[in-house]
């Protein structure tokens, strides 16, 4: 589709996420096993893995929701262990499950999150109008979210998650249940965000979406078994699609769910 900013030589060294030997244990079960990776500014980083591979746990640690058992993580320049409040203020988050407050109007939802993330009061109204115009939602400002179609809600939810211009946005299966056309539009929005320099950390179940990412990591049993650009991964695993790469890797899993 297009080249993202992180490919430029200067930005390559500006890592927004740095993870070293990050581990999370729940009792004797190791959910995340000693993972290390870096994500550059404006990069679209795909985070793949079967259910139970440890994706969600890793992501929750990066968002400051879970404390790691050991290892280190820096997100947007802040330590996820000791500065989780700062981390929270510098990131955006959107999940499939969350699709805004249904009984609030479109602008009220935007207003609420802008308020929570401390967007200056005077900027909120003009930015809201700008955003709605960009989405083509001008006529829906006063509409209750529950009367919007699912695809629209997801697009709006994504816009809301980056309304405060975070350094990183975490997307947890953002396109679940959305039709292909809307998914396509959704990814165009992701690219736009990445162009603005926002790092996108995305988990997904759709392998065609993995192809859209700049780099992809694949988790198996809590470890990262592969991490490279989709093209390189396909070459390395001698596969024609990301789907094939994923299947070859997932087969190695102890608790195989595929």
């Amino acid at each position: 589709m297009k080249t993202a900013l992180w490919n430029s030589p200067t930005d390559r060294y500006m890592n927004v996420i740095t993870v070293e030997n990050l581990t999370k244990k729940f009792g004797s079960f190791t959910a995340v096993d000693n993972i290390s990776f870096e994500v550059g500014k404006g990069e679209i980083f795909g985070f793949l893995g079967a259910n139970g591979a440890g994706k969600t746990t890793a992501m929750r640690m990066l968002c400051g929701l879970l404390k790691p058992t050991s290892g280190k993580g820096i997100v947007a320049g802040y330590d996820i262990r000791s500065e989780s409040e700062n981390v929270k203020a510098s990131i955006g988050y959107m999940s499939q499950k969350f699709a805004l407050y249904e009984d609030l109007k479109v602008w009220e939802n935007i207003r609420l999150y802008a308020g929570i993330y401390g967007v200056p009061e005077k900027d909120i109204a003009p930015k809201t109008d700008e955003l709605l115009k960009e989405l083509g939602f001008e006529g829906e400002k006063e509409t209750l979210v529950k009367s919007l179609p699912l695809g629209w809600r997801q697009k709006l939810a994504f816009s809301v998650s980056i309304f405060h211009e975070p350094k990183v946005v975490f997307l947890d299966e953002p396109t679940g249940g959305v039709d292909p056309v809307t998914r396509r539009q959704f990814w165009e929005m992701i690219y736009k965000a990445s162009d603005k320099g926002i790092t996108v950390f995305v988990t997904t179940h759709y392998m065609d979406e993995a192809e859209y990412c700049n780099r992809v990591s694949i988790m198996v049993d809590g470890r990262i078994d592969a991490l490279d650009s989709p093209a390189n991964l396909k070459k390395e695993f001698n596969a024609t699609s990301m789907d094939e790469v994923f299947r070859k890797l997932a087969r190695k899993s102890k608790n195989n769910e595929l």
């Binding site: 929701l65 929270k88 009984d103 929570i116």
Partner: protein
């Protein structure tokens, strides 16, 4: 601070956008107090009774007169045979039946052993026992009069006077108001709060809020503000309705009563938080609040049935219900007009409960974030 205000505003949107929530919060309390205050009364007034009187002498006439002239009862009919009694109850028109023995007056004079039987409908034991005890009081007072006039040998006539303290006209509203107040405050604070927090969890928005820079304690506090505000409004509504519509005066200090209610609101809100920290689904929060809080509150708090007549086990259970202590304290202050010294025990218990519940729920909430 702005975060907080924005969030509080959102909670109010949730409440007022949902017609049912608004109805429950603002209209239900009014309906409940009117219904309980007027409709469902335990007081006795103009209850109809029937008489089976084979003797028809001066004494039995006197007894029937005595009953009929009271404001509690009115004579419906005489029955001519005991067989007619049961059908009367089946029709449900009659509160109780007075069965007098044969040769009543003669027996009374000579053997001193005249028999009266009161038959009431035991399917509603509360009403039945109230009816019979009222009637018994009237009968014994007639007996006193009779010994006075007919015997003539007793120079000093002893007259039993029954005086009912605090509620001289036996208005059940006196009993109902503190109970309704406790139930409504509990309903709004504990139930609505726990459901509203559980809803955020169920929809997944709680996760999003936890990822945000908003402090968890602020999230909880801003959830409480609307329900706290509405509880205060309801408290005032209930008081106004009791005083001006049900004519139940506030005998004690209004300040003390309000402080007491604030304490109880605080306890109820913390119960709401505790419940919501334990459950993930709205329906579970609803069931727990409903089954574990409201039902026992209705049955075990002394609102409907006297606690003293319950089995010991149930009496113990009733001790752990905050609403029970609140009702006792409100009765003392509002109805009996007693001062702070009369409710020290209740205030201490409620304060202790609040402390324990808050500690528990904060612990639980923190744990969930780890």
């Amino acid at each position: 601070m702005r975060q907080f205000l924005v969030f509080v505003q959102k909670e109010f949107y949730h409440i007022f956008r949902d017609r049912w929530t608004t109805l429950i919060l603002l209209v239900l309390p009014i309906v409940m107090i009117i219904l309980f205050g007027f409709g469902i009364t335990t007081e006795i007034r103009n209850t109809k009774f029937a008489v089976y009187d084979p003797s028809r002498d001066i004494a039995t006439q006197g007894i029937v007169n005595k009953l009929e002239t009271s404001e509690y009862f009115s004579l419906d009919r005489y029955v001519t045979s005991p067989n007619e009694i049961e059908p009367l109850f089946r029709d449900g028109e009659i509160g109780f039946v007075v069965v007098l023995g044969e040769n009543f007056y003669e027996n009374l004079l000579h053997t001193g052993n005249a028999k009266i039987q009161l038959i009431a409908d035991g399917t509603d034991p509360n009403t039945a026992s109230t009816l019979t005890s009222y009637a018994t009081i009237l009968l014994s007072s007639y007996q006193q009069e009779l010994t006075g006039t007919a015997g003539g040998t007793i120079p000093y006539q002893i007259k039993t006077e029954v005086r009912l303290l605090y509620n001289p006209s036996l208005k059940s509203a006196y009993n109902i108001v503190p109970g309704i107040m406790g139930m409504i405050l509990m309903l709004i604070c504990a139930l609505m709060t726990s459901v509203s927090i559980a809803r955020e969890k169920e929809l997944g928005t709680m996760e999003l809020l936890l990822v945000s820079p908003m402090k968890p304690i602020l999230i909880i506090l801003s959830k409480l503000v609307p329900y706290f505000t509405i509880s205060i409004i309801n408290y005032i509504t209930i008081l106004l309705l009791s005083v001006f519509v049900l004519k139940v005066p506030i005998a004690g200090s209004l300040v003390l009563l309000s402080a007491l209610s604030l304490l109880f609101i605080f306890v109820s809100l913390s119960i709401g938080i505790l419940i919501s920290s334990l459950v993930e689904k709205q329906i579970v929060a609803l069931l727990i609040s409903g089954m574990i809080l409201m039902m026992p509150a209705v049955f075990l708090s002394g609102l409907m049935f006297p606690i003293e007549s319950m089995p010991v086990v149930l009496q113990w259970i009733s001790h752990i219900l905050p609403v029970k202590w609140f009702i006792i304290a409100v009765r003392n202050v509002m109805i009996k007009g007693l001062g702070f010294s009369s409710i020290i025990r209740e205030v201490l218990i409620l304060t202790g409960m609040a402390a324990v519940i808050i500690t528990l729920s904060l612990k639980k909430f923190k744990y969930r974030l780890e």
